[in-house]
């Protein structure tokens, strides 16, 4: 639905629905903290950001007639092959499953989660902060409206 909806705004709402479903899966898989993160970060910010962008770029309201290009068959073929291969492989191979049933898995508390994150994974955590900073600075630079007059800019910088 996300990809077939004619109107792009609709498809972003469908994305919210599927993200919520994914969050449900997380709860089933006993990852409740991540489910919360999923809802907050994905739905709360990513999708909202996308909708904002749609508003800013004033996408044509109404149905677009031709939303897809002419690679449909090839694309469907690729996607089917991927899916079929993966599924066949998943159902035929014995992964070394330690826990037979999900009901035996205990729920991960936030405290446990934080202990692991800040002991074993400190370095990636720090790098992630750099990454976010770089992305932030970069998007500001890119999305900033440019004045063609130089002096206008100068006033802003050299106060």
């Amino acid at each position: 639905m996300v990809i077939t909806a004619k109107h792009i705004l609709h498809s972003s709402f469908y994305l919210i629905a599927s993200l919520l479903c994914v969050a449900m899966f997380f709860i089933m898989l006993r990852a409740e903290y991540l489910a919360a993160v999923q809802i907050l970060v994905y739905i709360g910010s990513i999708v909202v950001l996308i909708i904002f962008a749609l508003m800013l770029t004033r996408t044509k309201v109404g149905d677009e007639t031709n939303i897809s290009n002419n690679q449909k068959i090839f694309a469907a073929f690729t996607a089917m092959i991927l899916f079929v291969c993966l599924t066949i492989v998943f159902f035929n191979i014995n992964l070394e499953v330690k826990v037979e049933s999900i009901s035996k898995v205990s729920i991960v508390s936030v405290k446990q989660f934080a202990e692991v994150l800040f002991s074993a994974y400190t370095l990636p955590f720090e790098i992630a902060s750099l990454l976010l900073l770089a992305a932030l600075v970069g998007s500001v630079v890119l999305a900033m409206k440019e004045k063609t007059e130089e002096n206008n800019d100068n006033k802003k910088f050299t106060k």
Binding site: V2, L34, T57, S68, F91, S101, G138
Partner: protein, 109 residues
């Protein structure tokens, strides 16, 4: 907290759902023309990754939480990618008034 009353939830089911999502995402990326649409499809693919990671984490390494940690970083990266992507789209839109990939073709491959 019994979710699996009749049906026993197995690892394979989650992986299959992830594979479906990944396939849909791939299809979307390859066919859509609107840039934001492509971005949405890529989000679907990343969600497939998240399901995979968390399912593996729950079934394979329930005490070490490695998959969940990985998932957190995937979410971080996804967020920053969307931010950057929308900035690029915005600045392209300002000049061309279109966000259709097939029309953005000054550079011919």
């Amino acid at each position: 907290m019994q979710f699996s009353a009749g049906l026993e939830l197995k690892l394979e089911y989650f992986l299959a759902i992830a594979a479906v999502l990944f396939g849909i995402g791939t299809y979307g990326v390859l066919t859509r023309r609107h840039v934001v649409h492509i971005l949405l499809s890529i989000e679907l693919m990343l969600n497939a990754v998240l399901i995979n990671l968390i399912a593996f984490s729950a079934f394979l390494t329930p005490e070490k939480l490695t998959g969940q940690m990985f998932a957190v970083f995937v979410i971080v990266v996804a967020a920053s990618e969307v931010g950057v992507g929308l900035a690029i789209i915005l600045s392209i839109y300002r000049k061309r008034k279109t966000v259709d990939v097939d029309k953005i073709n000054i550079l011919k491959g």
